[in-house]
Symmetry: C2
Subunit: 191 residues, 2 copies
């Protein structure tokens, strides 16, 4: 019998595609085995199990988003950089909802430390440096960006405002404007 050519990488990308197409819930050993025309037990030589599969998708998503974010932010500063960074997250979530969901999984500390998570944190701070906030404001700002972006993305993804007026994108613009204004104001009042 011919071999299917399973590897951890191929399983991870297939899992990511499956997550985007049918939701993170659909990512399971059984589903992947079907996709590769192989018995479920065969996957266990390559990945530890269902949860490990989802974690791999999370790590992939974090890397992809970090790469996109680095490109988007390059050569920009201030509001431009902030908007570019925020757009990366929103656009990624719309293009890859399953991967994005996976990226929200709570990773154990070791895994998180080895992930692209720290790159995201560094990028956020790099963008914020333009506002010259200082501490602890910069930390507050990192958290607020995270909350606003993830909160908006989640609302948008859960269909809360499908086909409703005004358009989600116009609200998104307000969100980014509000963040920029907020940080600019902090910056002024502290200096």
């Amino acid at each position: 019998m011919p071999r299917a050519g399973l590897t951890a990488e191929r399983l991870t990308t297939a899992a990511a595609e499956l997550a985007d197409a049918e939701g993170l819930e659909a990512v399971s050993v059984a589903a992947l085995a079907r996709r590769f025309g192989v018995r479920p037990a065969s996957l266990y030589s390559h990945v530890a199990g269902t949860e490990a599969l989802r974690v791999r998708v999370a790590l992939l998503a974090l890397e992809e988003m970090a790469d996109l974010a680095v490109d988007a932010v390059a050569g920009r500063s201030g509001r431009d950089a902030l908007a570019a960074l925020a757009d990366v997250y929103r656009d990624y979530a719309r293009a890859h909802p399953g991967r994005y969901d996976a990226a929200q999984l709570r990773l154990d500390p070791d895994t998180a430390a080895g992930s692209a998570g720290p790159r995201h944190a560094a990028l956020n701070r790099a963008v914020l440096r333009g506002y010259r906030l200082g501490e602890p404001d910069e930390t507050h700002a990192v958290r607020i960006i995270g909350a606003a972006v993830h909160g908006f993305v989640r609302l948008e993804a859960s269909g809360g405002f499908d086909h409703s007026r005004p358009s989600p994108t116009s609200t998104w613009t307000r969100v980014v404007d509000a963040l920029d204004t907020l940080f600019t104001t902090w910056s002024r009042s502290t200096s």
Copy 2:
């Protein structure tokens, strides 16, 4: 053999407690059956299945939050009302993480229409009326409150800033301040 006295209500409250204690994932027909010392099949005369159980928890949580929100907002206006409303959501999420997660489930349109969802929308708008935003700003504002609050709560719940400085609560204060300032500014510039 004595009867366990199962009812849809008792199952729902037990499911809510289980969700808060062990996560929404832990809510299942089998787990509830164990809790009541009963065979899994016995639950199906009372609830349709695992998903229905979670939806019931969601509806319960939405009602509880709406009741709390009504009380919290009563007699307040402006920033006070906004802060009180936002605090209700954050405090509820911290006290009842499983119920709060359930409340984020995507409900089918009919179920959603019969839920406390519309009460939440009405309350949000009632609080915002104090800012005299008009449309479409008021709608943007409703969405932004939702994004900011849910985003923050989610970050806080996922342990993103456990034991880290500055305290999550100090960031929360900034979030509420930022929302108040934002809406106040919109209000002025439009009038």
